[in-house]
């Protein structure tokens, strides 16, 4: 191992690239970190780290990522939050697909549809038997294959011990929640997590709808503005005093 650079999971991306370019022997950790970095684009990971820094939760916690309507980037941001928690803090993270009406997280991550939450709430099984490993210590609890209707599934989840099991088993649980206005279970699902985060994609949902979505939450949520890109040339923005 002498002379080899084996960066830890906390090492910056450049160190990982440096290690790779020097042809060093890859260990499991390095492979996992590389795989995790390939799962989310750097800009998304930066945004997730920024949010985590702002929220300021250390150790155990449950985040829920929701939005006003579909197509605002909930799933991508939930995945990025999970990856950031594991990469930066070495926490065991479970990513939970709570969008029981239109589950897509497993598909996005290239994993099996089930068994998942819908199957879990019908039996007395342990959470450990239902999670699938995404990368490193990041795990997926998919929505599952059961055809049970979403509100009933959610009610059973709320009444079960699954959430407490998740808290015990993982350091952090990140919920991919259904949208607040386009899903009947949106507001109810948001109540199951300690910190619901609202994703607003630039140019998608009209502000009155976003306002209505915020009002359906118990408390004002942290907001992530996603997909922001100014069409105005940078030189013009600078000349108008916009330095961002």
């Amino acid at each position: 191992m002498t002379g080899e650079v084996v960066p830890s999971r906390l090492a910056p991306l450049s160190a990982l690239h440096a290690a790779r370019s020097q042809g060093s022997t890859r260990d499991k950790e390095l492979d996992d970190a590389q795989a995790a970095l390939q799962l989310v684009p750097p800009v998304l990971l930066r945004g997730a780290r920024e949010v985590l820094q702002r929220i300021g939760q250390n150790g155990h916690g449950t985040y829920g990522v929701t939005s006003t309507v579909r197509g605002e980037g909930r799933t991508s941001i939930a995945t990025a939050l999970a990856i950031a928690e594991w990469l930066d803090h070495e926490r065991r993270v479970v990513l939970v697909d709570l969008d029981l009406e239109q589950p897509s997280l497993h598909e996005r991550l290239g994993l099996r549809e089930g068994p998942g939450i819908r199957d879990l709430v019908q039996g007395h099984n342990s959470v450990e038997d239902y999670v699938q490993r995404i990368v490193g210590d990041v795990w997926l609890l998919s929505a599952g294959r059961s055809r049970d209707d979403a509100p009933r599934g959610l009610n059973r989840l709320a009444e079960s011990t699954i959430l407490s099991q998740l808290s015990e088993w993982a350091d952090v649980a990140v919920f991919d929640l259904p949208p607040l206005l386009e899903s009947v279970t949106g507001p109810e699902a948001a109540r199951l997590c300690a910190t619901p985060i609202l994703v607003v994609r630039a140019g998608v949902a009209p502000m009155p709808q976003v306002k209505e979505a915020v009002e359906r939450l118990a408390a004002p949520p942290p907001v992530i503005l996603n997909g922001v890109r100014s069409a105005v040339p940078r030189w013009l923005r600078r000349s108008l005093g916009d330095t961002r």
Binding site: P41, I55, R74, S76, V228, A231
Partner: protein, 343 residues
Amino acid sequence: MRFLETLFRHPLVAILPVLVCLLVAGGYQASQPKSYTSTGSLYIDATVPGNSPTNTANQYVDPSTLQQSAIEELLTTRSFAIAVGAKGPLAAYLASHPRAESTGLAAVPLLSNLFSSSKGSVDDQIANNLPNMVTVVTGGPQVVNITVTAPSPSVAAGTAQAVIDEYASQTTAALTSTDQVAVRYYDQQLGQAEATLQQAQQQLSTYLAAHPTVPATGVGNASATELAQAVTLDTTSYQSVLSQYQSAELSLANVASQTGFQVLDAPSASATPVSSSKKLLETGLAGLVVGLLVSVLLITALTAADRTSRRAEDIRRTLGLEVAATIGRFPPSAAGTLRGNEL
């Protein structure tokens, strides 16, 4: 900033109206028929009483300005315009070219239907278009230039000559009317003076016949002297009225030479059409301005219609919430298994 965002997000909305308006303006100008001008110059005689500045309320008005105003005023009247059309080749030209109008609107069928008067009679067309075809400007204190723009050189020259002729005719008619009234008045006065004189002469003759001793001059006889003086007075009066009558008759006879102007340069037909570059520039500028206005209106409407959030300020202002993070857009290919943040 939102306006600029919309502008740069929809560049076609900003560019297309300008291009379309420029194309329409260019097409309109290119489809205009060639036009020719012809100019006639008049010399205004300041010695003619009607042209004298002292006869006007404003003594600083030039004789040429007086005539210019008079011609322009006449051009706005239907009878004058129709008379000009009939005297010159304009009426015949419009009759043989039903859709040809000096405004050129006929070149664009839609515009022609909307704005032109080609559906009316030839007289209507002349009355509507002649004021736009003729330009009257002063060339100095005593020179007036009349320029006519028309679709052919002969029509331009003929119409310019017709304007001058008709103006002369109108002036002559006005003077003739005045002189005829004077002649009639003095004729009546002359008749009365003649009758008075004859009566006085008759009374003197009767008195002398009754008194043969009294000399014809009435010297030595008070009554005869009084009658003789009356005859002398009536004779003087008669001669005075006769003189004025003759003067009025002379004025009536020479009315054609008292129009107050002479034609310095008769209108001639020029084979060179009017340069269209200035018109093209003007039409292009108008098209550009209209296009820009349409673009600004469209972008403003789009900006007002966009009620989504674009910037962190929108969230802060509308919801009163702080934005924890702003994530820029990235291409779907930037993600591995994830297909970007499209979902």
